[in-house]
Symmetry: C2
Subunit: 383 residues, 2 copies
């Protein structure tokens, strides 16, 4: 089943690595004062760290991403989620860059999250897991960076929630981030953004198998609610035109007469997206990480504004013209705020029919812009 | 609690009326060949039918509407859902027009629907209720019209699914409809439109209390799923800017610290919309009537195109610039198709910040346009 000969431009076979960061004695102190330790972190790296240790690019993943951004796990036929961007000769050229991607704190793909075992009790955290912030996610990434012996990133780079982490990192610790790339992200969710997430959380938490968040120890899963959340999210990830182009009003091939099953092709697509999601994602992580996004508002605190003014971070902010989840207005707001803080910002609105999902896709002008920005970054750091 | 003195411009106290249409011997024959009879229809009327019986305006309601469009039921403090439009001196001036509004076939506010008792079995229809089309809804309205002794409408008028019925009525029976008013409607849902309804239906049907549609006889209700459906729908009824204007990122007053309850004002709004909906709407009706909308595609059949060419219906089509459920493109398509059939069409895109919900609101240029169109219609019929 697996890929024995990886295609050209692939980083080839990769393995998930684990790091145990922080300790019970020296825990991670969250923004709300709560403490976590140890924190297990799952991560992958592609390419090699150079001798000057100045070619590291940290990939920050989105709400439902994971550490497996590129290459192939043994036996897998499909590569990591951002494989079109990462590899020899690709914009994130692994012949030149050392690329790191880690599963987020609060996630469910190896890094400590709400469904992990709480060492203090021997049972899953469940809803006893602390509420997180984007700043907390960044603190764990910083711990991993220290663990890898790197003191400064060539770039922090991410889309959607990933872009929020890149933004937060550069705002809070400009000395650690030479360049920040923020794609299809937001510095402040709108009421509509929050509303969609609220309905998704409602579907998860009212699933009878949610069991107040104790489903892990009961060996069940709120699959029905999680699938509904995912189906709804997928509507917002694509532009209306993209859904029309892909599915239009095509009937599903198995549909014989009107009913309440899968009559239209678009219903089959949503159903499929909901079902495949269940095999790879955890409902509690969905709750925690979606809430993290709701509260993200980094420019509201005078602290970060003060930090910004001393920061040499060079920013690239990109939006997609058909993205209606975090559309261009969200990116423009980030740009305005960075410019108010006298930060150097390059902004591009990329034309792409695919809506929010575009940040995951091989959109030529998007990749070309990224490539040019990162090439320039590498030249500058080498001088 | 009730309104003892109705405000000026009100039609005052009104009562729901009932008509039993069709019979077991002469049933309603649905578009798919299935038969229903008798069909109970709940309706209201406002104003008086004139001697020439040519001043009747039929209001077609939307997905979750009902027959109570104007005035006050005894003891109620709030008037019907389109009271801002209907009454003495209002655009639907009840001193001049005879206004009829009936609960839809498949509904749950008095007219026969899937939660009604099937006379053949003595138990609720449930999912045994036949699938409907907009044409079927219109057939029942026509039965009511005959029952009232009216052969031709001055106007058929509705918003959203109501506009679809007005369109279908005028296309199928142009001799019965002098004027058709189609507001914020669609002649063909997009994949995105269908997708939202699909997720809503999924939430309803996976609620453990749905019981395969037998919840009525089990004296329970899929309240959790129906509330989720309604919450999601409300996101699509308002423009993103309207949600921002109403709620922004305001915290809910009772919210103390981040959690998974109602932290933001917009979450409280959605929760409230979901809860109040449960008291007045039926989950099976939601399934049936939303599916009716998915399949609506009146211009796909050559039959109606043929009918259109002989029709003297005068059309008013209106959209709202911030409506992203059935935006202006949907209305433009209706206009193009009517124009291709050489129908007289007036089209207006109304500026309103409130999105799809605008059709229910007192938007001045919207009401003024309606008033002018109906005044002209009344003058023409009187000549």
């Amino acid at each position: 089943m697996g890929v024995s000969v990886p295609p050209p431009g692939s980083v080839g076979q990769v393995e998930l690595q684990m790091a145990s960061l922080f300790t019970e004695a020296e825990p991670l102190v969250l923004a709300n004062g709560e403490k976590l330790g140890p924190v297990e972190v799952a991560f992958e790296t592609y390419g090699s760290l150079n001798e000057r240790r100045d070619n590291a690019v940290f990939i920050l993943h989105a709400l439902t991403g994971d550490a497996h951004a590129a290459g192939y796990h043994a036996g897998d036929a499909r590569p990591g989620w951002w494989d079109n961007l990462i590899g020899p000769g690709k914009p994130l050229d692994t012949d030149r860059f050392f690329v790191i991607c880690a599963n987020l704190l609060g996630g469910c793909q190896g890094t400590t999250g709400p469904s992990s075992i709480n060492p203090a009790t021997g049972t899953p955290f469940g809803l006893g897991f602390p509420q997180l912030t984007v700043a907390d996610l960044v603190e764990v990434h910083r711990g991993l960076l220290r663990h890898l012996g790197i003191s400064r990133l060539l770039a922090a780079l991410g889309g959607s929630l990933g872009g929020m982490q890149a933004l937060q990192w550069g705002l809070s610790y400009p000395e650690e981030v030479a360049n920040g790339v923020v794609v299809a992200a937001s510095s402040r969710l709108t009421a509509q953004n929050i509303a969609f997430s609220a309905v998704a959380r409602r579907a998860i938490m009212t699933d009878p198998n949610f069991l107040g968040g104790d489903y892990v120890s009961q060996e069940t899963n709120p699959d029905v609610g999680l699938a509904i959340a995912r189906m709804m999210a997928h509507i917002t990830y694509l532009s209306e035109d993209a859904l029309t182009e892909k599915f239009g009003r095509e009937p599903h091939p198995d549909s014989r007469e009107p009913g309440f099953g899968i009559d239209f092709a678009v219903e089959s697509y949503l159903d499929h997206q909901g079902q495949v999601f269940l095999g790879r994602f955890d409902a509690l992580s969905y709750l925690y990480l979606s809430r993290v996004m709701d509260y993200f508002d980094p420019f509201s605190t005078p602290t970060s504004a003060a930090l910004v003014t001393q920061a040499p971070v060079k920013w690239l902010v990109m939006s997609f013209d058909t993205d209606w989840r975090f559309g261009t207005e969200h990116s423009r707001r980030i740009v305005r705020r960075l410019e108010l803080a006298e930060q150097p910002v390059t902004f591009r609105e990329i034309q792409s029919p695919w809506g929010h999902d575009s940040f995951l896709l091989e959109v030529p002008s998007y990749h070309a812009t990224l490539r040019a920005f990162l090439d320039r970054a590498l030249v500058e750091v080498s001088q």
